[in-house]
Symmetry: C2
Subunit: 155 residues, 2 copies
DNA sequence: TGGAATTCCTTGCGTGTGCAATGAACCATA
DNA sequence: TATGGTTCATTGCACACGCAAGGAATTCCA
């Protein structure tokens, strides 16, 4: 079958995305670095801080973070060493481990959060404006729905 | 200074982006995998195929790919081993190495390209529609300009 | 109720990446 | 033209990640 190529404008749009997404990730990482936290660490802290009793099962957390089980195990190793998270085994199901946010971890998140929010604001919200940012979210919502639909259709 | 938080809608938009970007990258990677090429490899092939005489200096290629010099050295190691790229030292400046696309490499790219184009089409262009895809490109163009402006202002 | 299938976490291994150090080549300037 | 600074590529090292295997606990079902 003859492939349908992208128009020049479409290619331009796509390239914009690929290049920008990379730079954006780097910028966000850099803004968080002074607090001694990576984006990965930060996301863990946020999820746990929003969770019931400040804790999540490893497998649920891995799902939320889109991380493989082994990836989460090792990320948590580091965070436990920092004292931000504690592991606790679960009484009702002894296979599962709880990842539990410590007060130190909460403090770390609260210290880093303003920098991160400002970072998103500065790098994304500001250049796009409120309307643009809304479009931005809507567009990715559509892509997301579509991806999930495909996932469910053929797993 | 009191941090200005994001509204719920804004948080939703942002989360949409973070989650989707990850899944999208995974989907694109998966669609290319049957051809034995990663996204990283593919980008190298594309850049070289579009370059003057099918070759680029390592440093320019690293810049184009947003890759560190060492990262590019190793990515090329693999591609040379596959026979897709050859290294050639430069006569006029003996510090530089050319990365030169071989006929085999070009064939590999041409074989993989339709799958990639279809992948972008299916995962992004289709759910967004032509107008949405255009917005998509515009929005990232704005973010990109803004990021580059900051870069130039304070290097 | 007892064995098979499943779920959950961890560990070993391979890979891909960046940073810092290294060495080679080039360039600018005194 | 000699010397100090710059540019370019590579290598050593550390780190983060996924996959596959492993072991323990649970659930399913015949």
């Amino acid at each position: 079958m003859e492939p349908r190529w992208l128009t020049d404008d479409e290619q331009q749009s796509w390239r914009n995305y690929v290049l920008t997404a990379h730079d954006l990730a780097t910028a966000l990482e850099a803004d968080l670095a002074p607090h001694g936290v990576t984006m990965g660490d930060y996301e863990v802290l946020v999820w746990l801080s929003e969770a019931e009793e400040n804790r999540m099962r490893m497998c649920d957390l891995a799902g939320a973070l889109q991380l493989s089980p082994s990836g989460l195990t090792r990320r948590l190793d580091g965070m436990v060493k920092q004292g931000w998270v504690e592991r606790a085994s679960c009484a009702s199901d002894r296979r599962v481990m709880w990842a539990h946010l410590t007060p130190v971890g909460r403090a770390k998140m609260e210290a880093a959060a303003p920098a991160h929010v400002e970072s998103v604001r500065r790098h994304v919200l500001e250049p796009l404006g409120a309307d643009g940012f809304d479009q931005f979210g809507t567009l990715f919502g559509r892509i997301r729905e579509h991806l999930q639909h495909l996932e469910l259709t053929r797993p």
